[in-house]
C-alpha cells in the first residue's frame, strides 16, 4: 500500500473511529484500525466487536492498493500532531512508514487478515431515512436509555417499523421513557421491532451527520447494517424483551398544562442546586395562574421558584427527579412543552410537537416513620 493523504481528513476519520475502537488492553485486535486503499480511495474501519464502523476518507490519492492494520492509539496522535498538510503512508514489512516533510514514523502493524469481516448492507428490506430526521430521532431518545445493570434490553433503543412508512424509536430506563415517531421510506413494507445497542444508535446518528445523503439500513440475522455516502455501520442487536411501551404512556390525564420550555428548564435547574444525591427531588405545585417549584435538602437548604402558567383547575402537585426533567427540556427545540398528569403517583407526560412523547414516573414523597 502507498497513499498520499490530506492529513487533516485522515486524522478526522481516525478520530471519528475513536468512539468505536475498544480501549481495552485484552483484545489488541479491537484497538486497531484497518486501512484499505483501493480503486474507490481509502476506507478505514474499526470495531469493538459489538459496533463496527467503516468510513470513507476524502483527499487521498492511492498510488498502490493494499491493506494494513495499525494500532489506533499510535497512528491517531502521530497524524494529529504532524504539522504538514499532506502525509505519505506506505507499508514495509508488516509496518507502515508515515512520512511528512520533516518527519518519518515507522509504526508496527498486525496482519490485516485477522480483522473481522464487518458485513455488507443486506440486499432486501432496506429502509431509507433522511439524515436530519435520523439525527433528530437519535438525539431525542438515546439519553433516556438505562445505563446501570438490570434489564439488559433497556441498554438499547427499540426500533419499530410499521405500516405506512412509520419509523419509531423508544428508549427507557426504569423511571422514564422517550418515544419519537417519524416516517422512513420503506418500499419493501418491512414491519417489526428490534433493539439496537445505545452505542450503535449513537454511531448511526453520527453517520447521518458525517454524510449528506439519506441513510439506508436493514437487518440481517442479529445485526443492523446502516450505510450512506460517509460509510457503513454494523451493530449487534440486543436480544431481549423490551417492555410494552405503549402500555405505560397514559392516554388521558386530568391535568393539562402548557409551559415555556426555557423558563421551566431554568427553574428546575436552579431548584436542583439545593438537592443532594440522597434527595434528588423537585416538587411542582400548580395553583391558579402559577407554578411553584420547590426543593429542599436537610443539610443544604431550600429553594422556591415561581412561574406564571395558564392553569385554573384544582391545586395539584407532583414531584420529580430534576435530572429527568432537565434532560428532556435540554433537547427539545420548541418554545413550549405540554405537560399532563393525573395525580402524584401516576406517570406524567411531556409532549413537544406531535411526534415526541416523554413519560416520567414521579418521585413519591412519603412521610417519615413515626
Amino acid at each position: 500500500m502507498r497513499i498520499v493523504a490530506n492529513r487533516e481528513e485522515l486524522y478526522r476519520g481516525l478520530q471519528r473511529l475513536g468512539g468505536v475502537v475498544s480501549s481495552g488492553t485484552q483484545q489488541p485486535l479491537y484497538r486497531h484500525v484497518k486501512m484499505e486503499a483501493g480503486d474507490e480511495g481509502l476506507r478505514i474501519s474499526a470495531t469493538d466487536l459489538e459496533v463496527g464502523l467503516t468510513l470513507k476518507v476524502d483527499g487521498v490519492q492511492v498510488e498502490e492498493a493494499g491493506t494494513v492494520l495499525l494500532p489506533h492509539a499510535r497512528i491517531s496522535p502521530v497524524l494529529g500532531a504532524t504539522p504538514d498538510e499532506s502525509v505519505t503512508l506506505a507499508d514495509a514489512d508488516g509496518a507502515v512508514v508515515i512520512e511528512a516533510e520533516n518527519s518519518r514514523f515507522r509504526i508496527l502493524g498486525e496482519d490485516p487478515a485477522s480483522f473481522p469481516d464487518l458485513g455488507e448492507l443486506p440486499e432486501d428490506g432496506i429502509v431509507e431515512v433522511d439524515p436530519d430526521v435520523l439525527q433528530y430521532m437519535v438525539r431525542r431518545t438515546v439519553f433516556a436509555t438505562a445505563d446501570e445493570k438490570g434489564r439488559y434490553a433497556l441498554h438499547g433503543v427499540l426500533c419499530v417499523l410499521g405500516k405506512e412508512d412509520t419509523f419509531e424509536l423508544v428508549a427507557a430506563d426504569g423511571a422514564r421513557l422517550a418515544h419519537v415517531r417519524k416516517k422512513a421510506s420503506n418500499p419493501a413494507g418491512v414491519e417489526g421491532e428490534f433493539i439496537i445497542m445505545r452505542e450503535g444508535l449513537e454511531q448511526m446518528g453520527r453517520l447521518a451527520e458525517y454524510g449528506k445523503e439519506p441513510v439506508h439500513f436493514g437487518v440481517l440475522e442479529n445485526r443492523l447494517v446502516a450505510q450512506n455516502d460517509a460509510g457503513r455501520l454494523v451493530c449487534q442487536l440486543i436480544e431481549g424483551q423490551f417492555p410494552n411501551f405503549r402500555e405505560v404512556i397514559p392516554t388521558e390525564s386530568k391535568i393539562n398544562i402548557q409551559l415555556g420550555t426555557q423558563a421551566l428548564f431554568s427553574a428546575v435547574r436552579r431548584a436542583s442546586y439545593v438537592t443532594t444525591q440522597e434527595t434528588r427531588v423537585v416538587n411542582f405545585e400548580f395553583t391558579t395562574g402559577e407554578l411553584q417549584i420547590t426543593a429542599e435538602a436537610a443539610d443544604v437548604g431550600q429553594a422556591e421558584l415561581k412561574m406564571p402558567v395558564e392553569y385554573d383547575g384544582e391545586p395539584a402537585s407532583i414531584a420529580f427527579n430534576p435530572e429527568y426533567i432537565e434532560d428532556v427540556l435540554a433537547i427539545v427545540e420548541r418554545e413550549t412543552v405540554k405537560m399532563r398528569f393525573t395525580d402524584r403517583r401516576s406517570p406524567c407526560v411531556l409532549k413537544s410537537g406531535l411526534d415526541y412523547t416523554y413519560v416520567v414516573s414521579p418521585v413519591i414523597l412519603e412521610e417519615p416513620e413515626t
Binding site: 488492553t25 422514564r176 421513557l177 427531588v281 429542599e296 435538602a297 414516573s361 418521585v363 413519591i364
Partner: protein
C-alpha cells in the same frame, strides 16, 4: 504519612471441634466433624468445622456432609451447638479487650484487633501477640492463630499460614514480598469464579495480579478489579470497625431435594425474605443492599447483589430485589440446592428520613398507594408472631408444600 498501624487478626483453630474435644476428653485425638447430620451418608448439609485429625482424611469446612462421611465414616459427627460456641466466643472477646478497646469481631471465631495504641504497654508487637495467644489458651484451653500486619488484609492472610497455634508477623516493608508468591485465591473477593477468570488472563499468583495493568483490570472487572489490584499491592486502609453490631441480616435454606421447581423456589425465597424482614424490624434497621446466594446442585455457589436507592425493610421490598438477583444468577437447566437472602448496608430505621422514592414505569407494585398498607401488614404480622410464634402467620406467597413436607430443615 499516617502512623503505622498494627492490626492483629485472631482466628481460632478448628473452633467448634476444639470446644467439643476440650469438653469431651474421649474425643481428643479423634477426627471430629461438627455440622449437619450425615444420616449415614445421605445427609444434605455441610461441615461447619472439623478437627485437625479429621482434616487428615481430606475433610474441610463447607464440604457436603455426605462427602465428609464417605471420607471418614468413623469420625465423630456432632451437631452445631451454637449457644455453647457463642459463650466461648464472648469469653474470648473479653480477653481481647484486655489488650485493646478496638476490637472488630467478624464471626464467631475470628476478630480484628487494632493494637497500635497498646504496643508500648506490652513491649512491642511480638510480645503482645504472644501474650494474647497464651491468655486465650490459659483461659479457654483453646488455641488461636494470629496474623500481625499493618492492615487487616495482610493480617488475615497471615493468620492462616501457620495454623494451628500460628503467629505470623509481617513488617510494613515485607508486605509485597510476603504477598507476591501466594495464590490469588487467598485474597478476599477471589472466589472460584474470579479465580478462573483471572487464570484465563494468566493471573495465578498475587505477583501476577500486582504486575497486571490496573486499568485493564478495571475495564474487565470494574471497581472490583481495581480493588483486587490494590489488595495485591497490600493496600487496605479499612479501619478496625468497633461498632460490634450486625453488618447484615439474612437467612438461607437448603432444599430437601435439589429443585428447579420455580414456584417452590419463589415461595422459599419469599419465606426467607419474611424472616429477614422480621429480624430487620426487630433490630430497627433498614438496609440498602440485597444479596441473593444461589448454590447449584453441583455445589457451585454464586451471589448476586444490588444496592437500592432506598433502604428496604419489608418482605415484599426485599423479595422484589432478591428475585431479580435470582433471575440474573440462575442458569436454566440447573437445579438449585440452596438459596439465601441477606440485607446489608444497614442503617437505623429512624436515621432514614425519606425524601421520596422514584417510582417505576414498568413495575407498579411500589408505586401504588401501598406503602402504608405494607407497613400496617408488617405491624400486624409482628403483633401476631410476637404472641403466637414465628409460624403463626405467613404470606400465601411463601407457602411451599415441599418445604412443609421436609419439616423445615435449615442450615445453621
Amino acid at each position: 504519612m499516617a502512623e503505622e498501624r498494627v492490626i492483629i487478626h485472631v482466628d481460632m483453630d478448628a473452633f467448634f471441634a476444639a470446644i467439643e474435644q476440650r469438653d469431651n476428653p474421649p474425643l481428643r485425638g479423634r477426627p471430629v466433624v461438627v455440622g449437619a447430620d450425615p444420616q449415614g451418608g445421605k445427609g444434605r448439609g455441610v461441615v461447619s468445622t472439623c478437627s485437625y485429625e479429621a482434616r487428615e482424611y481430606g475433610i474441610h469446612s463447607a464440604q457436603p456432609i455426605s462427602r465428609a462421611y464417605r471420607l471418614c465414616p468413623d469420625a465423630v459427627f456432632l451437631p452445631v451447638d451454637g449457644e455453647k460456641y457463642g459463650r466461648e466466643s464472648r469469653r474470648i472477646r473479653h480477653i481481647f479487650r484486655e489488650f485493646t478497646p478496638q476490637v472488630q469481631p467478624i464471626s464467631i471465631d475470628e476478630a480484628f484487633l487494632d493494637v497500635t495504641g497498646s504496643l508500648r504497654l506490652f513491649g512491642g508487637k511480638r510480645a503482645l501477640a504472644r501474650k494474647l495467644q497464651r491468655r486465650i489458651e490459659q483461659e479457654t484451653h483453646l488455641t488461636a492463630s494470629l496474623g500481625v500486619a499493618p492492615c487487616k488484609l495482610v493480617a488475615k492472610i497471615a493468620s492462616d499460614l501457620e495454623k494451628p497455634r500460628g503467629l505470623v508477623i509481617v513488617e510494613p516493608e515485607e508486605i509485597e514480598a510476603f504477598l507476591r508468591p501466594l495464590p490469588v485465591k487467598v485474597l478476599p473477593g477471589v472466589g472460584p469464579r474470579m479465580r478462573q477468570s483471572l487464570a484465563r488472563l494468566g493471573i495465578r499468583t498475587i505477583a501476577h495480579l500486582a504486575d497486571y495493568p490496573r486499568e485493564s483490570l478495571r475495564e474487565r472487572f470494574g471497581d472490583h478489579g481495581e480493588n483486587l489490584w490494590s489488595k495485591a499491592h497490600g493496600i487496605d486502609e479499612s479501619p478496625v470497625a468497633t461498632g460490634g453490631e450486625a453488618k447484615s441480616i439474612g437467612h438461607e435454606h437448603t432444599f430437601g431435594t435439589d429443585t428447579d421447581n420455580w414456584p417452590e423456589v419463589r415461595a422459599t425465597l419469599m419465606w426467607l425474605c419474611e424472616k429477614t424482614a422480621r429480624r430487620l424490624r426487630k433490630a430497627e434497621k433498614r438496609g440498602f443492599t440485597v444479596t441473593t446466594k444461589i448454590r447449584f446442585e453441583d455445589f457451585t455457589t454464586l451471589t448476586r447483589q444490588q444496592t437500592l436507592e432506598f433502604p428496604v425493610r419489608e418482605a415484599t421490598e426485599i423479595y422484589a430485589a432478591a428475585v431479580r438477583n435470582l433471575q440474573e444468577g440462575y442458569e436454566a437447566g440447573r437445579k438449585l440446592r440452596l438459596i439465601g437472602v441477606t440485607v446489608s448496608g444497614l442503617i437505623g430505621a429512624r436515621e432514614w428520613k425519606p425524601k421520596g422514592r422514584q417510582s417505576s414505569l414498568f413495575e407498579h407494585a411500589p408505586a401504588e398507594a401501598s406503602d402504608d398498607i405494607h407497613r400496617r401488614i408488617a405491624r400486624a404480622e409482628d403483633a401476631v408472631k410476637d404472641r403466637f410464634g414465628e409460624d403463626a402467620l405467613r404470606r400465601g406467597a411463601s407457602y411451599s408444600p415441599q418445604r412443609r413436607a421436609e419439616n423445615k430443615r435449615e442450615e445453621p
